[in-house]
């Protein structure tokens, strides 16, 4: 067993185990932390495949941004997750049974199909003499322009959606009016008032 294989099995096992913990741990903060662990292991797998750019992007974007955002959200929302997961335990046995059956079937199928994989030439992650980022860059705006733009459109929809669903148009928006600010003079802001003795304003 080579070191690569060892690393693969390590990352794979931890990834699967930690993703299981994501759904099974009672404390949602732990869940998010396990999710981060899963991302790290997935990043490790990318590295093993020679896609170090993707591995780093995964860590930066998912761990650094998304998962941390999740963590904030979970902590800020005061939700009793234990209550929500009660039903989960109640349906655990039957769900587990079905899941197990499916798992067995998948194993059975993949066990039988392993020979088939060997007959195919494995695709190469990176062309020779090219870095990861360069290789991606070469295809991203050429061969994959359609998909790339489509992904952009999806993100646009997500953005519009987030605004549509959350933005509350206020009646009194505190908007900055630069022209008004610069046009403001002392006379506009200050007023001298003579106050008669013995009387209020």
């Amino acid at each position: 067993m080579t070191l690569t294989s060892l690393a693969f099995y390590l990352f794979a096992t931890v990834a699967v185990a930690s993703s299981f913990m994501v759904i099974s741990s009672r404390n949602p903060v732990y869940s998010v932390l396990f999710l981060i662990l899963t991302f790290f292991n997935a990043a490790g797998l990318f590295v093993l495949l020679g896609a170090e750019f993707l591995a780093l992007i995964l860590v930066v974007v998912y761990v650094g941004a998304v998962a941390v955002l999740f963590l904030f959200v979970v902590m800020m929302l005061d939700i009793d997750f234990a209550e929500l997961s009660e039903g989960f335990l109640q349906y655990m046995p039957i769900g587990a049974t079905v899941g197990l059956i499916l798992l067995l079937e998948l194993l059975l199928v993949f066990g039988a199909s392993s020979t088939l994989i060997d007959t195919k030439p494995l695709p190469q992650a990176t062309p020779d003499g090219m870095t990861n980022a360069e290789a991606l860059g070469r295809v991203l705006y050429t061969d994959y322009i359609y998909f790339f733009q489509a992904a952009g459109a999806i993100l646009l929809v997500a953005m519009i959606g987030a605004i549509v669903l959350t933005l509350v148009p206020s009646n009194n928006p505190k908007k900055q009016n630069i022209a008004a600010q610069t046009a403001r003079t002392r006379d506009d802001a200050v007023e001298t008032v003579d106050v008669e003795p013995g009387q209020g304003i």
């Binding site: 039988a112 359609y146 489509a150 999806i154």
Partner: protein, 496 residues
């Protein structure tokens, strides 16, 4: 490159149009909803016209085979865009009255339409996924667009969570297929998906199953339908009208394309699954609808059932079958939009009503609306000579010609059970004492639309051949086969 851009012109129009309208909406002073609505309708019409101009062209691909344009795609796109446009027209009054009128709604629908166009033309697993996500994400948002309503937000959230699950399944299946065939392109997948010693590679079939589950979710075929009733009921009615029409067309179109082109060699595997989905959908659609009191929920089960009937034609896996599905979907969309035009008109001065019992005695208070709805119900039930009957006739003929006798028998029985709840609505409208729940007049644009749909449904049998020929041509592209449905129609007409 120019050819690439030419082929995706309809989607480009939609996408750029959506962005332009977004700008207009964001920067215009005052309420721009009306302008954006009209703009969206115009853009959809333009996109539909552009798509229609490809109808007679030979098959052409773009972006290294990821995107395909042929007469099937052209027809389905025209239908989808027109359906979306009608959904926007129908939504205007409702959204205004419900204080939901926002310029983002037509923009999101335009983007969804672009996604649907991408789905219909997808010839690659990634393109398929991109199209589906673009469409779905927009749908999740519009489902929850009434964000002050608990039911609407719940609907949006449910749809989103389950949609994510289905996307997960689809992706899992896609990755398996890619892993075992080495390509994401449908044509190459088909080439790699060869039976070995008469046995299909099980791992690829497994991928197919997961992919199929993801697609079945989009057309809400049983058992991947669970979201449908809740979302249909929870979402604002105008959104439900849209959900029931265009996305179903697009979903069915890509479903047909991927099975007929990418997995043509795996027919024995998916045919069984489609038969199973068809039976379950028809039966559940027929039975579960009976217990409904809410007309939107009822329409949800109705659309589940109709997807089952369309899948009957699908299961035939023949040119006749494909064109029967196209025809069925077209008629289904017309009937559904017509029905929703009526449902959208169910209003009191205090707001919309949705219970079936609110329709009591409608024939006396709103005779025109009752007539339109009755025609739609008869047609949905498949009673001749309404258009719905011909849809069923063609799918069952296709199934019988393919030797699927028991499927056809179950289908006919299910449609008998289904007729019960459609006719119950007619009974409530025509025979029950007026409840006077619906007391607002029918808005003008809705009555025009309902009238047009009703006329189409009623008079389809007079001159059905243009649509049948179109469906045949589109079906022939997928199957490279003769124009079977046209022959069937000739035969049928000659029989009378």
């Amino acid at each position: 490159m120019l050819q690439n851009l030419t082929l995706i012109l309809p989607e480009m129009i939609l996408f750029l149009g959506a962005m332009g309208l977004l700008m207009i909406g964001a920067f215009s002073k005052g309420d721009s909803t009306r302008t954006v609505n009209l703009g969206a309708i115009a853009i959809l019409a333009l996109a539909a016209a552009t798509a229609g101009s490809f109808a007679n062209n030979a098959q052409a691909t773009a972006f290294n085979g990821a995107f395909v344009m042929d007469s099937f795609a052209a027809l389905m796109k025209v239908l989808t865009f027109v359906a979306t446009g009608i959904a926007i027209i129908m939504s205007q009054g409702y959204m205004r009255l419900e204080k939901l009128a926002r310029f983002e709604y037509p923009v999101l629908l335009l983007l969804a339409a672009a996604g649907m166009g991408m789905m219909i033309s997808a010839n690659d697993l990634i393109a398929l996924y991109m199209g589906i996500e673009l469409q779905s994400l927009a749908l999740y948002v519009v489902a929850a667009i009434n964000r002050d309503s608990l039911r609407s937000t719940e609907a949006g959230l449910k749809y989103f969570v389950l949609g994510a699950l289905s996307s997960g399944m689809l992706l899992y299946g896609a990755s398996l297929i890619y892993g075992f065939s080495g390509s994401t392109n449908f044509v190459e997948i088909a080439a790699a998906f060869q039976p070995q010693d008469g046995i299909l590679p099980m791992a690829q079939v497994l991928g197919l199953v997961f992919l199929l589950a993801g697609l079945a979710f989009k057309i809400s075929a049983v058992p991947f339908h669970m979201w449908t009733p809740d979302v249909y009921e929870g979402a604002p009615t105008s959104v439900t009208a849209f959900f029931a029409s265009a996305p179903k067309l697009a979903g069915m179109a890509i479903f047909l394309r991927i099975m007929m082109t990418g997995f043509e060699n795996a027919l024995v595997a998916w045919q069984q699954i489609i038969i199973l989905l068809a039976i379950l959908s028809m039966v559940l659609g027929a039975f579960a609808a009976i217990g409904q009191q809410n007309i939107k929920r009822l329409m949800a089960y109705s659309s589940i059932g109709h997807m089952g009937f369309a899948l009957v034609g699908f299961a035939a896996a023949s040119a006749a079958g494909v064109s029967s599905v196209i025809l069925y979907m077209t008629l289904y969309v017309v009937m559904t939009l017509g029905t929703f035009a009526c449902i959208l008109s169910m209003r009191q001065d205090s707001g919309p009503v949705e219970r079936i019992s609110d329709l009591a005695g409608l024939s006396q208070t709103r005779p025109f609306m009752a007539f339109c709805l009755a025609v739609m119900m008869f047609s949905l039930a498949g009673i001749p000579p309404m258009a719905g009957f011909f849809g069923k006739l063609f799918v069952f003929r296709a199934a019988i010609d393919a030797g699927l006798y028991s499927l056809s028998i179950i289908g006919v029985l299910a449609s008998v059970v289904g007729a019960f709840y459609y006719l119950r609505i007619v009974k409530v409208m025509y025979l029950d004492a007026p409840a006077d729940e619906v007391n607002e007049p029918m808005p003008r644009e809705l009555s025009i639309l309902a009238g047009v749909m009703t006329a189409f449904t009623l008079l389809f049998f007079v001159y059905p051949s243009p649509l049948v020929e179109l469906a045949d041509k589109a079906g022939a592209v997928l199957m490279q086969d003769g124009m079977v449905a046209t022959d069937m129609l000739q035969e049928h007409l000659a029989g009378h």
